[in-house]
Amino acid sequence: MSGGVDSSVAAALLAEQGHDVIGVSMQLYDQSEGQTSFGSCCSLDDLHDARRVAAAIGIPHYIMNFERQFDEQVMSNFVREYAAGRTPLPCARCNADLKFATLAERARGFDADAVATGHYARVERDEASGRVRLRRGLDSGKDQAYFLFSLTQDQLARALFPVGDRSKEAVREYARARRLPVADKPDSQEICFVPDDDYAAFVTRRAPETAHVGQVVDERGRVLGEHAGIHHFTVGQRKGLGLSSSPASSTGSPLYVLALKPAEGQVVVGPRASLERTHLTASGVNWLIDVPAGAVRATAQIRHRHPAAPAIVRSLGNARAEVDFDTPQIAVTPGQAVVFYDRDVVLGGGWID
């Protein structure tokens, strides 16, 4: 229970259905010095909100301390990825490595049959194959299946997403009807541990050595300017390049970040057309179907809130895969997830190389 409306309603729905529900919130970073330096979710106020909701529903509520695990498994990875010129996806790491791993293990200790969260996704048991199917949430605007691709069959078998078959508005309606104190609380938009959505400042604080000045170059290697560290950039980024009057933009076409080269400390920029890719490979691939022997027709989604595009997906073995899109995709970003779907069913996914 994050203290937000989705997990609050998830808990309330389960309690209403007669389940024996234990409310758990995760404390993910040190809050002893107040909240001003923290991001949007799981702050002290949010933990208090979760407690109030649990009291309103009439379930026990515990706050578990996962500071160490969150630091080791999520924040460190986040910093490492930016330092390596990649754009991390911490929410997916947190789901697979913390919520449905460490937290789920703890829950087993309390004889819990399942771990429920407020994600907009659906799980269904496929009687024929014995597998659990992960589907997109019914509310396509809120769907979060993308962040859950790396859950294993074991993890999914014990996962519940009670709000997955509702629209956000219906969730809020329900919260209002039940007079849950968070019914009209705004959605969190930012990454919870990054204050003011300022990733670069966070990475600089955690790993000052990443903040070394480097060159901004064009596709042919011509130096166009300087930058304050590659962790300030992500592939596809257009703003904040600090190159208002560079020769490459003399044509008038705006420049985009095409690639980040950590070894050279270089940010490569170029026109939008150069961002187009039809091919990518991914590592750490998790299949929710039997690992396919040959090519699979699917749609593939390369970031959250991005339409999945028709593609051919092939397993390369060793938890790797390659994806060939029918039409070019803009800004395939290393570090983000590529998730494969059959209509709204998640087939699998991996981390873009």
Partner: protein
Amino acid sequence: MRVYFDYNATTPLSQEAVDAVSRATRDLFGNASSVHHFGQQAKAALDEARSAVAALVNADPSEIVFTSGGTEADNFAIRGAAEALEGTPRRHLVVSAIEHEAVLNTVKALARRGWTTTLVPVGHSGIVSPERVAEAMTAGTALVSTMHANNEIGTIQPIADIARIAHEHGALMHTDAVQSAGKIPVDVRTLGVDLLALSAHKFNGPKGAGALFVKRGTRMLPMLTGGKHERNRRAGTENVPAIAGLGVAARQASAKMAAEAARVGALRDRLEAGILRAVPGTVVNGSPGARVPNTTNISFDRVEAESLLIALDLEGVAVSTGSACSSGTLEPSHVLRAMGFPSHRTQNSLRFSLGLFSTEEEVDRVIAILPGLVDKLRALTKRTVSA
């Protein structure tokens, strides 16, 4: 059946204390500073409570200042004494590393205002060594603060010896007796302290009332300024109902102390021996000899205390560990850390603290359910490690 074994966090009120609080709430609404009949009645209740608290710690009633509780009493003791010495060469504070946050964080706050501080370490016994205190003393030491009984492991500290050392160096001696007052004999003269803090809700009185013993002649600046309450030492209209409850609880604690200490001590020993026997991989933290009779702190090898505490609560057994942080989650115990235990041991210990309403049946229930819960959690730990 719900079992409450967290008396060191707070205690249920005795029926007599409940009656005293409700009677005072109903009948003694007057302002104790008022001249008229209503004020006089309230004032009489305060005087009676003051005598009761004084008797509990062998002080003179004029040496008792009522506060809102233990935290305020500790703050008043340290800040009040420190402020009175500001501008003198005495700008150094000596406290043990296993003090309650009410002391530790108060000292930290003073450190930010230019006071120097020394934390006296403790060993595995959980008992502060007077020799280490002596080593920490300087000509500039203003005050030494060592708790009488530790809240997490229950160990009783050699306050009289430490007070002697403090006084030899011209420093004041404060002791936080929140966990000992009402449980074991506390005598401010034998202990030789200048300041002593206690709290009603740790011995079956209400929350919101505590007291600071201030030895006559001790220079203190008031923490709260305003009216002339509490002999100008603590301004603010007195919380008469809570203080009346404190007085009754103090009288009862004095009267029943020997018998209750023996009864609760036997229950604690039964619980401790039962757990050590029934659950392999368990060990008691802190010196088993010099402890308050109601407390045991036990480490469970290969178990996350946080999980065990929740599992016990889901079974209706309330215990505790370390101290809770602002959100209510558990942090590694600063006490066990200060005792030099490795990090896993500071995160696998539970505190069981018993009291007035504890029964043998409750003790046996806890001994009966613990092995199963621990086994289950250990099996999971093993899986996680092997995965």
